[in-house]
Structures are given as C-alpha cells and as structure tokens.
C-alpha cells in the first residue's frame, strides 16, 4: 500500500504548530457583538419576572433576549440525526431554570465589559423550587423537573416526565432468574461511576454574520455541523436554506461538541440584529453549563458454573441525565449493548434501567459513552467472580469472551434508540490482544503483586473492552472527489475533523484508492454549503463510515477516469492499466500521464469535470476490541497510586494511520485513567458546581503518566475501508476496571465507586480492619 498503513504525519500538523489561524474564534468578525448569558443562580426555579429595561438603556447594549422573545418550540440540543432518540424537552429559553448555570437570558453588546455591566442591571424575580440533587431520589419524586406541556419523545424511549424519567428500557434473553438459581456461584455488586468533564482545551466557541446573499453564516467549534444547521432551523424557525454552518479547526471535542450550545444564541442575535456576533464560553461556563458524563449506579449479578462457564449476567442501571435528557437513552443503552456482548456464551442476560432527571448540569455524549461505565462494572465483577471460583481472571475471560466468527443476541436486540442489528464478528482478535498484553506487561512475573517494600507495593490488573464503528442504518457519511487540471484531487467530506486526524486519514484512503501520494489530495471538511452530508464525529463512525464513503467516491472516480482514458487512448476500459502516474493502453503500450490526462480533460477536446460522490451507511458496526493492562504502585501509608505503565493491545482492523491510531488510543487511555483515578465533577449540597475551574477539576498532567505501551493486532475487517474499523473511543473503556482490579491485586481492597481515590481506599481499609477486629 502506498498511502494507507504507512507513516504519514498529520497533513495539518505543521500549520497548526506554526500558529496559523483557523480555530473558530480566529475567524470572528472584528466588529462582532459580544454575547453573554445570564445564568441561573438556583438549581431549580421559575422566573416570575424579568426586567431588562435598565440594562437596555446602557450605551453599547444591542439586544437582550428573554424567554418572552423566543418561539416556544421544544427541541433537543443532543446533536443527533433526525428523529432524535432524545426527548424534546428543552426550549431556547424557558421560564423555568433547572440547574445552576441554566440560561435565563442572553445579552449582546459591543464589548464584554458592557455585557457584564448589563447583566448586573437585569432584575430577575425567581420563585425558588425544591431541587432534586440526588439521582437515587429522582424517580417518582413529588418535585417534577419537567412539568411543562409540549415536551415529547420522538418515538418510544420510555419517556415519562411526570416521574422524572427521561428514558427507560428493559430486555431479557433467556431466563435470568432461573439461570442464576442454577449457577454454582453467583456474585452481586453495585458500582457507582461519577460525572466526568470533557475539558477539551478550546472552549465552546461560535460566531455568526449575515453575508452578501443575506444568509446566516455560522462558524462553530462543533462535531456536527449538519445537525447544527437542522436544529437551529427547527428551533428558531429560520429556513434551512438560509443557514450555512462551517466547522473550522476544532480544539478538541470528545463528544462535548456534539451538542448545540452557543450556536442558538449567536444565530438568534445575528438573525435578529443583522450584525455579526460571537460567543466564547469561559472555562467556568464550559464546566457549569455544557455537559459532562452521565453518572451511573450499576447493579450487576453474574452466575457461573464451577468449571468457569459464565451462565447469566444481570445488569440494572440508574443513570443521571441532569436537567435535560440529551443522550439520556443512547448513553444508557450502550452500557448494555457495547459491554454485555463481551461475554456472549451465557444462557441468559438481562439489561434494564432508568435514566432520571435531576437539577444538575445536563449530561451528554462523552467519548466511550455508556461503555466506560458498564465496562467498569462488568470487568470488576469478572475479577470478583474469578476469585470466588478460584480461577485465574485471565483464564476466566479467555474461556467466556467473544471470539472471531461468533455473535451475541444482544446485537440484534439493542440499538441506540431503536432495535439493533444482528452481526457476527468477522474480526475479533481479542484472544491475541490478551495474550500479547500479558507478555508486554510481564503478567506472569507481576501478577498479582510484586516488588513489595515496607512502604509500597506494585501490582497489575487488566480488563477487556469493545466498542463500535458507527451506528448501523443511522450514521451516514458522504464524500465528493474531483479531478483538477494538473492531476491533483479535491476531497470534500462532511466528516468532522476535531483533532482526531480524520482529515489526514480520509486523505490517505482517497490517495490509496486513486494510487497517488497524499499530497495530491487536498481535503476540505464540514461546511454545509460546500461538502456533502455527514452525521459528524461521534459514535466511532469516522474511519469506518466516512472512510467507506471516501473509498466509494474514489472507486467511482477512478472508474470514470479509466473510461475517459480509454476514449483518449482508443481502447476499451479493460485494456487500460492505471498506476497512479500513467494510463497505459496495454494493447499497444501507448500511454498518457495523469497530469496530461487531467489537463486534456479540462482544456481540450471533450472537456468535462470529472467528479464523483460516494456515500455510505453501515449495515453493521464491526466492534474494535482491546485488552488493557495497568502496572501501578501504591503507597502503603498514603494509598497514593502511581501509574507505572499502561499496556494497550487493540484490534481496530487495519490502522489507516498507525501513529494517529496510537494517538487515539493513548489519548483515550489517559482520559480513562483520569476517570479511574482523579477526575470528578462535584457539587455542593446546594447544587452548586464545586469543580468549575481547572484548579478544582484536575485532568491528568505530564507527571501522572509515566509510560504507555500501545500495539495493534493484525486484523483485516472486510467491511471496512482497506480493512479498517474505528478506533476513537475504545481506548477509554478499560482503565477504570483495570485500575480497580490492580488495586485489589495489590492490597485486597475492592473499590466499587469511581474515582478510586486514596481516601476511598483508606476508608475501605479502616472498615476492613474494624470487621477483622469484630470477628
């Protein structure tokens, strides 16, 4: 291969390192109105009166928009395809505010200082309501967070707002109760996972202007430009054709920019005033008023026979969606659908649960959504079970885990909103991943613990995981490729580069199929006027779905080029040999170079534009798989945990760009370690976010990560472009369980709630001491 699976530096790395402008705020009009949002100081309240008169008098204030000034159309900011699997339970602005940070009104003025002053002059009278701040008390609580009329589900998702229920679901294969009864060993436990904040370094940023064709042009640091266009049109009643959404360079997303945040306000201000506007979220706003990961309570029960065969898994989830139900159902479904099939040989499996509203900052999409929570619970309980069975935890996994050519009934039953799609695993190198990971970490020597000193102890732990490659029959991507004079190509893709390298790998895929070098393909992505459609960067869809679309377009274009070359060289297409540089008529060895061909087709004789569009929607979602192994050291007195190494062995099919794939895995591993050990979204007892700055919310630093070892299994997925599956999310799933298992292997203490902090280990060790003493 020329372009795929070979070392290819990011096509944009240099320009970005050199500081070239390209991020959303770099592209704002100089005379933009500044937009600021007055946010609720209460977790739950009704706005009785809002007086903006004094603020409007302030020189420099352009407009103030309250809930009286916007259409009352319920929608969802989730940023999903249509019809969305999230309830339409949000209004652009509403008389109710449902969390501290919720939007009360929007101010636009000529400077930030004037915005701030104006906000101080706005008088709001609130009727303060009793909030629900504990998600275990939300269901059927007499306080109802969404009492309003008009909100609705787009199709059945178990939505029951009067019960504070955003979504619910239940499925069962076989008979779980009776299978558990018949099992030799049953273990049960309850796991808690915390909210995690995306903390992409570029805050949410949007700007807008009206162009000379009187259209609304929005630049947004979004993962889903096409959904943004549609949702703005629906919520604000602006005709779709009048809106253009451009996604410039994005400074990280991780799911946090799948949703609509500042776009609505910028669109509103610019559409109404005719003036350019911009909004840049402060870091506090990013924490308080965008999204974080859904906290969950997961009850697991698992049954096995003495020979190690796992016979039943029962999983019940309670998920906290916060004030709005964005991604309520979908995240929760993944907790079952991309976790439970890992152990596919069971006789019975059940998954059920509720997603409830609370008066917390809403939860939304975040890399590995649902899967990381479920994986922590399942892969912890597998180790607990192994101990009870007196089985080696890796052997137990090897005996029961998914293998190539196998399937799970769950694939057909559970989708993300609708039914799922049956599929068998055409590639699953999990067995290799486990074996190789064991070698790399030195499992034989180190398991369960090693190098004990009076003050510290080292240990290893592991977990396995799977993810998906887009959502079958829902996620669609498209690409257009055109040939230019001079013999180079433009690749126009709807796919959304957000830092994951999609522009580079899609270029590689096009170059490979067109048999040219990467520099001959110029990519342009995500502009609703210029590029074909793509759902956007989420659900690990880009490599597989958008990649297949690019491949389709390239194939068609190559065919067309060969046809035209045959005409020029006076033979049939079958006689043409194309090698990326020349077209050769094999019957007489006459040839025309690609450059001459392109010039001729552009300028002389039968001139025409050669261009093709391809699109792709998956009929399955081949899961990437991985095994993750942690090597850590615990201080016996402080219970501080130091990560010595994290080994990942991943099966994501062909790596289109091996180094960038490694970057996806390693970046995700470190975010997963953050979730496992350090990161926690925390509220005060009155519902105020405590972790609202980078001082109070700590993402991993350089000193936290000593080493990462990442390898890929040899694997070729027939349905993927050049054998590739997606790789954006799978890396984040294993660290929580691997770390919990390693902590147990080190000191015999099982932590079942994230993050695994020294305080929790200390408390557990005290409790253990106390029970020992009582015995």
């Amino acid at each position: 291969m020329k372009a795929v699976n070979v070392l290819t530096p990011s096509i944009d790395g240099k320009g970005l390192m050199m500081g070239k402008k390209g991020y959303t705020d770099d592209l704002a009009e100089k005379d933009s109105l500044i937009i600021k949002v007055l946010r609720s100081p209460y977790p739950f309240a009704r706005i009785k009166k809002i007086d903006v008169f004094k603020a409007l008098e302030l020189v420099g204030v352009e407009t103030i928009i309250t809930h009286h000034d916007v259409p009352r159309v319920p929608f969802t900011r989730a940023g999903q395809g249509y019809p969305e699997p999230s309830p339409h339970d949000k209004f652009v602005l509403d008389e109710y505010v449902r969390y501290i940070g919720d939007e009360v009104c929007v101010v636009a003025a000529i400077s930030e200082a004037i915005c701030d002053e104006a906000i101080k002059l706005i008088e709001v009278e609130y009727e303060v309501l009793k909030p629900i701040l504990d998600f275990e008390e939300a269901l059927d609580n007499p306080n109802i967070i969404h009492p309003e009329a008009k909100i609705h589900e787009m199709f059945p998702i178990g939505f029951a707002p009067k019960r504070n229920l955003a979504a619910s679901y239940k499925m069962e294969v076989g008979d779980v109760e009776s299978t558990l009864k018949k099992a030799d060993v049953v273990v049960k436990d309850t796991f808690y996972t915390q909210a995690q904040a995306h903390t992409m370094l570029e805050p949410h940023t949007v700007n807008a202007r009206i162009d000379y064709q009187n259209r609304l042009i929005i630049y947004s640091s979004t993962q889903t430009p096409f959904h943004v266009r549609r949702i703005i049109s629906q919520a604000l009643g602006i005709p779709l054709a009048e809106i253009r959404v451009i996604k410039p360079r994005v400074g990280g997303g991780f799911g946090g920019k799948q949703a609509i945040h500042g776009e609505m306000f910028c669109a509103l201000v610019t559409y109404r005033t005719g003036k350019p506007s911009k909004i840049v979220f402060s870091r506090t706003e990013v924490f308080e008023a965008t999204y974080s990961r859904h906290p969950m309570k997961i009850e697991m029960a698992i049954g096995a026979m003495n020979d190690g065969r796992i016979t039943a898994i029962d999983c019940h989830v309670l998920s906290d969606t916060g004030a709005y139900g964005e991604h309520a159902l979908t995240v929760f479904m993944v907790t079952g659908s991309k976790v439970l099939p890992l152990y596919n040989k069971v006789d019975a499996v059940r998954f059920s649960g509720e997603v409830v509203y609370t008066n917390h900052t809403p939860a939304g999409a975040f890399r590995g959504y649902g899967a990381i929570q479920g994986n922590f619970a399942l892969e912890s309980i597998i180790d607990i079970l192994a101990r009870k069975l007196k089985f080696d935890p890796i052997k137990l996994r090897e005996l029961n885990m998914m293998k190539e050519k196998e399937t799970s009934p769950i694939f057909a039953i559970m989708g993300e909103g609708t039914e799922g799609t049956a599929m068998t695993m055409d590639t699953c190198k999990l067995d290799f991943c486990v074996k190789r990971g064991k070698e790399l970490i030195g499992w034989e020597r180190k398991y369960p613990r090693y190098d004990e000193t009076p003050t510290s102890i080292k240990a290893v732990g592991m977990a396995i995981a799977m993810q998906g490659s887009g959502i079958p029959y829902i996620d669609m991507g498209a690409a257009t490729i055109k040939l230019n004079d001079g013999g180079f190509f433009n690749l126009l893709v709807g796919a959304t580069e957000i830092g994951q390298g999609s522009d580079t790998i899609l270029t590689q895929i096009a170059a490979e199929e067109l048999e040219v070098t990467v520099d001959k393909v110029i990519v342009y992505s995500s502009d609703t006027d210029l590029t074909p459609f793509d759902v956007g960067a989420y659900a690990s869809s880009t490599t597989f779905v958008s990649g297949n679309a690019v491949l389709d377009a390239a194939r068609k274009l190559k065919q067309k080029m060969v046809q035209e070359a045959a005409r020029i060289l006076e033979c049939t297409s079958k006689d043409i040999l194309y090698d990326g540089e020349n077209f050769t008529n094999t019957t007489n060895n006459k040839l025309i170079s690609l450059v001459d061909f392109a010039n001729e087709i552009t300028y002389s004789r039968e001139q025409k534009q050669l261009s093709e569009t391809g699109s792709y929607v998956g009929h399955k979602s081949p899961p990437p798989f991985m095994a993750g192994f942690v090597d850590l050291e615990i201080d016996k007195e402080t219970f501080n945990i130091k990560i010595l190494d994290y080994v990942s062995v991943v099966d994501c099919g062909t790596t289109i760009n091996p180094k960038l794939a490694q970057g996806q895995v390693e970046g995700a591993i470190v975010q997963g370690l953050g979730m496992a050990l350090w990161e926690e979204v925390k509220y005060s007892s009155s519902g105020k976010l405590i972790s609202n700055s980078l001082l109070n919310y700590q993402i991993p630093t350089r000193l936290d990560i000593n080493n990462l070892t990442t390898e890929f299994a040899e694997s070729y997925e027939e349905s993927g472009p050049f054998g590739a599956k997606s790789v954006g999310e799978v890396g984040i799933d294993t660290p929580p369980a691997a770390v919990a298992n390693a902590v147990f292997n080190a000191i015999g203490i099982r932590i079942t709630s994230l993050p695994i902090t020294p305080e929790k280990i200390f408390r557990a060790s005290q409790e253990r001491k106390n029970t020992h003493e009582q015995e």
Partner: protein, 150 residues
C-alpha cells in the same frame, strides 16, 4: 495608553487598557496563535516568551511588558518547524490547540538546559496541559528535538 513591545524581532506599539491582560492585547492585534483555555492560569495555551522565559500571557498585565521582548510561535519559526517535524514522525499532533504554546516552552527549555532527564522535562512542561495526546508521543518528539543539534 500606549506601550512599546519588541515582538517577534520587531518594535510595535500597542494601545492597551490599564487592566488589560497581555493575552487579550495579543489576540486583539491578531497574534492568534496565543489562545485562552481557562480563567485560572492553569492550562498554558496562552504561553508566550517574555524576555525569553515562558509565561502565561493570561496573567501578565499588558502594561507590564512595556519595553520588553515578547515572542510568540511566529517568532521562532525555524525551531517550531523542527519541533513540528518530530511531532509528525511521532504522531503527536492532535487538535493542535496546545501546540504553539508547547513549542515555545520546549524551545525555551532547550535554550536554558542541557541533558534533562525525562522527569525534569515533564516538570518543565507541566504547565502545558494537553487533553488529546496522552502526552507520551509529545514527549518522545520533544526528546528527539532536544537531541537535534542542527
């Protein structure tokens, strides 16, 4: 008020408010490689060199750099290109939002020290957060750049 700054090897005059931070001045004057990522001086994406030393421009008052030398990544073009070369080889590029600031800090470190251990490098760079890369690929690239004596 007016300040005179020697920026990227050239004297320039900036009109600033007394309470304005250097970050806002620079962005206003189109030095867009300098960015804001936080409100608490915690992320490092606003780093510039002030008389050769890395500082977070979000916490430096613009008036305080009057008559001083400020360098943004555009001022170390050649070195940034080298750093970028090694980033490319290691696959250390992701969203790029943190990169210009990191390049400046790495360059300053190379100017100041020789033979740093991995731990010392990490300590020097700790103020430059990155949420995308997982750090290790970046550090491999940095190490290669430090070893490059060309």
């Amino acid at each position: 008020m007016k300040i005179k700054v020697y920026i990227n090897d050239q004297w320039r005059t900036f009109d600033v408010e007394p309470s304005e931070y250097l970050l806002d001045t620079l962005r206003r004057y189109d030095y867009l490689s300098v960015r804001r990522g936080c409100d608490t001086t915690s992320c490092g994406v606003c780093t510039v060199l002030l008389d050769g030393k890395p500082v977070p421009s979000c916490s430096v008052l613009a008036v305080s750099v009057d008559n001083k030398a400020v360098t943004t990544v555009e001022g170390i073009k050649k070195e940034a290109e080298k750093i970028s070369h090694y980033f490319g080889l290691e696959g250390a590029d992701q969203c790029g939002f943190c990169n210009p600031a990191l390049a400046l800090t790495v360059y300053a470190m190379k100017q100041e020290f020789d033979n740093l251990s991995d731990h010392e490098i990490r300590e020097y760079l700790i103020g430059n957060l990155c949420r995308c890369s997982g750090y290790i690929a970046q550090e491999k690239a940095v190490r290669k750049y430090l070893e490059d004596k060309s």
